[in-house]
């Protein structure tokens, strides 16, 4: 289990527990559940790389305690 912090810098900061073998889409769903936005409206980024839905977190080397940028589309 890893815990990831997602922050749009507009007032929402969520810590989400997930498995490293979850896909980015799963993570988005979890985030959506916590924040109340639709999951398909969520964009996760780290610097300029936008994470794609079908790829596992461990493949993006997303580890415990990492900060992701949360955007909406």
């Amino acid at each position: 289990m890893i815990e990831i912090t997602c922050n749009d810098r507009l007032g929402k900061k969520v810590r989400v527990k997930c498995n490293p073998d979850d896909t980015v889409a799963d993570l988005k769903k979890l985030i959506a559940a916590q924040t109340g936005t639709k999951w398909d409206k969520i964009v996760l980024k780290k610097w300029y790389t936008t994470f794609k839905d079908h790829i596992q977190l461990q493949d993006y080397e997303i580890h415990d305690g990492m900060n992701l940028e949360l955007y909406y589309q």
Binding site: K13, V16, K17, K29, A32, A33, Q34, T35, G36
Partner: protein, 742 residues
């Protein structure tokens, strides 16, 4: 989105404030409408103001529910964990594991695997293994040094304790002095102890007797005895030692001393007999040898001093005696046990004494009888007496240096040196003139002596000739030219050569500048002359009235065999290169270097005017000195010549042969150096200048350039008048010229 939210807000407001009086609302609406037409900013301000107004108006709480949340399904009841800094926007919320699991279940995801992971991590820690980044290898964890140290400390302590315990145990068994004393002090106890011991001994004796008796009964004793006897027979005794060799000198063994001998080490396969040695004695010997080695003087024995051994005899030394030991091995004294070699030893001593005496010579004290010494050598003595060989010295008169000789001073002054060289040191680099096979150059050095000898020879010849001349003149011609000269050889002497080169000096020989009339030059005189001279000589010898001066008559009668050519016939060039070279040499086409004498050549006029012999010798001396001192270094300090003041004059001459002054020379060199000549104009200018200069030089100082003065003078001469009238008109001019004629 913004617009929709606005709308909803408006609705809310409507809803909320519906309970209020409609008039107010209307007013507000109107206002709003009015404002709507105006600025947006104002409107915003107003909004805020209004809100405050409302709040102030009504104290009820307004709940603002965001629109977005309404659209999405409301999140399950979340136990919000607020981060410590609860800014309004910076709060981070997270679900607990259970809640997330529930959520995941709803979303259709597998639950979080917390347990397994934690298990894994714990397991990893227990194993002390760690996966590397690739997950391929497990790494052994690094050892914690602190724990290691601790373990070591503890272990040490434990071992110390153990040792202590051991020691304590040991010591506990040993009786201390005090305790022992207490035992001995108790006499009763001690007596008892002794009694016990005595009893035990007696018992043991008894038992032994019993056993013996038993043995006797069974006849064991006899068997044992026989065995013992056998053993005694087999024992190694003196008999066995008889004839064994001991490798030590007998002096080492003294009466009453026991020396243990052992068998000497040897190879297993050796078939030599056993040798006995004493280890201590061996070591002593080795020590002695080492000391000897240390004492040994170095091998260098320059005066060949002979060693003397202990008996005072001279040791006979073999060649390179120091290696004898290494080659033949060390000599060792040895004797055999049981053989008395006293006689031998005596013999040896006798021998040494004999040797000693053999080297000594007996001197008798008697002296030989005195006899009278004779004045003369006996025959034997004479035979002994050797006459010292006479050293045949060649007489050499000192060479004359004739500087004033017309043939060239250099030649004369140089020659003697070369000659001396050839006499004393025969070196290759000195060109030996006389070695040449066919061409013989007579030594000019020995002029005086040579001349004297020559004279003597001539006199003899003359006598012969005079006697012959009575019979016939032609006989003279057949006379061999000179002794010891084979006809194939060319005789060159300086005079001959000089004459050859000189040839056409008209005054030579006529003015009587020759030293001797009877010089060798005579040989080159014409045959006619010779004949005439001969005739004269005959007349003189026959005529009775003249006071005969023998010298004079001989002088005059010097005769060379006539028609003998100076140079022999030319060698056959066809026979080979050598012959050709010979010819060339004889003709003078080829010149040897040492014969290159510029003073003698026709180029003499080109020689340096102020060249002096001193200069030459100086240079040569210097050169020779340099050769000598190449290895030793100069013996004397370098001396500067005081008189040496060279006259150095630098002159530059351009391509046309003009002598340049400093400025021009610089320009010329500069142009040459830079490879860039002056411009065309410059060249023309300079040419013009040069021409003018030339003209100026050519111009006579007494006349005008057009030669007017000359013309005038010529006219005067022509007219034979002391004056000339100068006038402008042509006619007048002609008239003036014509006038004096008339």
């Amino acid at each position: 989105m913004g617009s929709s939210s606005k709308k909803s807000k408006d609705k809310d407001r409507k809803r909320r404030h519906s309970s209020r009086s409609s008039s107010l609302e209307r007013e507000y609406r109107e206002k709003k409408h009015r404002h709507h037409k105006k600025h947006h900013k104002e409107k915003k301000k107003e909004k805020i103001i209004k809100q405050y107004e409302y709040e102030s108006d009504s104290s009820d709480v307004i709940e603002v529910i965001p629109d977005e949340e309404a659209s999405t399904p409301p999140p399950p009841k979340i136990q919000c964990i607020h981060s410590p800094e609860i800014g309004h926007g910076q709060s981070s919320e997270s679900l607990s594991v259970d809640e997330t699991n529930k959520l995941r279940a709803k979303l259709g995801l597998k639950p979080l695997h917390i347990d397994s992971k934690s298990d894994k991590s714990s397991k990893q820690k227990e194993d002390g293994k760690r996966k590397d980044d690739l997950g391929e290898f497990y790494h052994k964890p690094a050892v914690n040094i602190a724990t290691k140290h601790q373990q070591e400390k503890i272990r040490e302590k434990l071992t110390q304790h153990k040792e202590k315990r051991h020691l304590d145990q040991k010591l506990s068994k040993v009786k201390l002095l005090g305790e022992a004393d207490s035992d001995i002090d108790d006499t009763l106890k001690w007596i008892e102890k002794n009694k016990k011991i005595v009893k035990a001994r007696q018992e043991a004796e008894k038992r032994a007797k019993m056993l013996e008796e038993l043995d006797a009964q069974f006849g064991v004793g006899e068997v044992v005895e026989s065995e013992q006897r056998l053993k005694r027979n087999l024992q190694y005794t003196e008999k066995n030692l008889h004839g064994l060799e001991v490798e030590h000198d007998t002096e080492n063994f003294k009466e009453g001393q026991t020396i243990v001998l052992t068998l000497k080490d040897k190879d297993v396969l050796d078939e030599d007999a056993d040798v006995l040695v004493n280890v201590n004695l061996l070591e002593d010997e080795r020590y002695k040898k080492n000391v000897e080695n240390k004492k040994q003087k170095p091998d260098y024995n320059p005066y060949d001093i002979e060693d003397i051994d202990e008996f005072g005899n001279l040791k006979t030394k073999s060649l390179l005696s120091k290696y004898d030991e290494e080659i033949e091995g060390t000599k060792k004294n040895s004797f055999r046990i049981g053989f008395d070699n006293a006689a031998e030893r005596r013999q040896v001593i006798m021998n040494t004494v004999k040797e000693k005496l053999a080297n000594k010579r007996l001197e008798s004290l008697q002296t030989p009888e005195l006899t009278i010494a004779s004045d003369y050598y006996s025959e034997q003595e004479l035979a002994k007496f050797k006459k010292p060989k006479k050293k045949i010295k060649k007489l050499r008169s000192k060479p004359q240096t004739i500087v004033s000789d017309p043939e060239g001073s250099k030649f004369y002054t140089r020659r003697p040196k070369i000659k001396e060289d050839t006499d004393t040191i025969i070196t290759d680099d000195v060109p030996a003139v006389d070695i040449k096979p066919d061409i013989k150059v007579e030594e000019d050095i020995d002029d005086t002596l040579e001349r004297a000898l020559h004279k003597a020879r001539k006199l003899k010849q003359k006598e012969a000739i005079t006697t012959n001349s009575f019979t016939s003149v032609s006989g003279i011609k057949d006379e061999p030219q000179e002794d010891g000269l084979d006809p194939g050889a060319i005789v060159l002497n300086t005079t001959a050569e000089f004459c050859r080169t000189l040839g056409d000096i008209p005054t030579y020989g006529k003015s009587g500048n020759r030293e001797d009339t009877e010089d060798l030059l005579d040989y080159e005189k014409d045959a006619h002359e010779d004949v005439e001279m001969d005739m004269e000589a005959v007349e003189e010898t026959t005529g009775g009235w003249n006071a005969v001066d023998p010298n004079r008559s001989q002088e005059v009668s010097v005769v060379a065999p006539f028609e003998v050519p100076i140079l022999d016939e030319e060698p056959d060039v066809g026979s080979g290169v050598g012959a050709a070279l010979k010819l060339a040499m004889s003709k003078g086409y080829l010149e040897k270097e040492d014969k290159a004498r510029p003073s003698n050549s026709k180029l003499a006029h080109l020689q340096a005017q102020h060249y002096s012999i001193e200069d030459k010798s100086y240079g040569e001396d210097f050169d020779r000195g340099a050769r000598r001192e190449r290895y030793t270094g100069p013996i004397m300090d370098f001396k500067e010549r005081d008189a040496f003041k060279p006259n150095v004059k630098l002159e530059y001459i351009d391509d046309e042969g003009h002598v340049l002054n400093a400025k021009e020379a610089f320009r010329y060199l500069s142009h040459k150096f830079h490879g860039k000549g002056p411009g065309k104009n410059k060249i023309e200018k300079r040419l013009k200048k040069q021409q003018q200069e030339g003209l100026m030089k050519k111009m006579s100082s007494t006349d005008t350039p057009l030669g007017t003065l000359n013309m005038l003078q010529a006219k005067q001469k022509e007219m034979q008048s002391p004056f000339i009238v100068l006038s402008g008109g042509k006619h007048t001019h002609s008239t003036t010229i014509s006038k004096p004629r008339n």
